[in-house]
């Protein structure tokens, strides 16, 4: 390798190193979750309709979660599967309160599902069932997590 080639390659390598961190950073910025209020997220799910609290939605979650990063949540809707279009989970004080949505078909057999969600702090968890007639019914439960700790 002569001096000219060495300098060219060094310049190219330097340019690649300088540019490369910008690419993933840009992608990360786009991939960040959207910060929104509970009301905004609820409006997006229900298209402005107000969910009604109902005994038909059974939300099972621990009153005290030992680990806020993996809080088990089970939801059952006491309705025939044909009447339930979707189940939405919300956590009102999370960065993005819209935690997850499960869209159901009669092939699912039963309007039930269980998952684990992350809670940033003590807050209310909501299970909202979207019914076939376009109405929404819900249940909520306060779940407490640790105030905090040091790593």
């Amino acid at each position: 390798m002569n001096r000219r080639n060495f300098l060219k390659m060094t310049a190219v390598a330097g340019a690649v190193v300088a540019v490369s961190p910008a690419v993933p950073l840009g992608l990360e910025a786009k991939a960040q979750p959207k910060k929104r209020s509970f009301e905004e997220a609820l409006k997006e799910i229900t298209k402005g309709k107000k969910p009604v609290e109902s005994q038909k939605v059974k939300l099972i979650a621990p009153s005290i979660a030992e680990n806020g990063a993996v809080v088990p949540v089970k939801v059952e809707v006491v309705e025939p599967i044909e009447n339930v279009k979707a189940i939405h989970i919300m956590a009102d004080k999370n960065f993005d309160p819209w935690t997850c949505s499960v869209h159901l078909t009669p092939q699912n057999g039963k309007p039930y599902f269980s998952t684990r969600i992350r809670l940033a702090k003590t807050m209310n968890v909501y299970a909202i069932a979207e019914l076939k007639d376009g109405s929404f019914i819900m249940a909520k439960k306060p779940v407490k997590v640790t105030i905090g700790g040091c790593g």
Binding site: E66, T146, I147, G149, C150
Partner: protein, 145 residues
């Protein structure tokens, strides 16, 4: 006579006035002798949440009474020799960490983080009522409305 009664009152009130922390060896000996559960508290002097818990939850009379009655409380500093031993033997999740141990030395469960007094009392209840023998902590609190 009045002086004796007054002194007795002071002794009785001070005995419930704070958590009686034990050292590692003394604590285990006491737990074996009295067949009590052990609660090991791993703290760090620089930990904000440890200070917060000590200034609030541990100052609560009900918390103090429950801990002194049902547990042998052991307090170890994270970086001390005993702290290193506890971390290696029972694990460590950060500060504060609480390990609940049977008198025979077997670990029941470790809990991470600072808790307000109402929640900490519920957590303590899970252990001292023996509920841990039949169900996991998550299942126990799932049943609570």
């Amino acid at each position: 006579m009045r002086k004796v009664v007054f002194l007795l009152l002071i002794v009785v009130s001070s005995s419930f006035g704070e958590i009686k922390w034990y050292g590692l060896n003394d604590g285990f000996q006491k737990a074996i002798k009295e067949k009590k559960l052990i609660m090991i508290y791993i703290y760090s002097p620089k930990c904000h949440y440890c200070k917060r818990m000590e200034a609030t939850t541990f100052k609560d009379k009900q918390v103090q009474e429950v801990i002194n009655r049902y547990f042998v409380p052991i307090k170890v500093r994270k970086c001390s020799e005993n702290g290193m031993f506890v971390k290696e033997e029972y694990g460590y999740m950060g500060t504060p960490t609480f390990h609940f141990i049977k008198p025979d030395g077997n670990k029941i469960k470790g809990i991470f983080g600072a808790w307000p007094k109402e929640d900490f009392l519920k957590i303590l209840k899970y252990f001292y009522t023996g509920a841990y023998k039949t169900k996991s902590m998550t299942d126990y609190f799932m049943e609570e409305q």
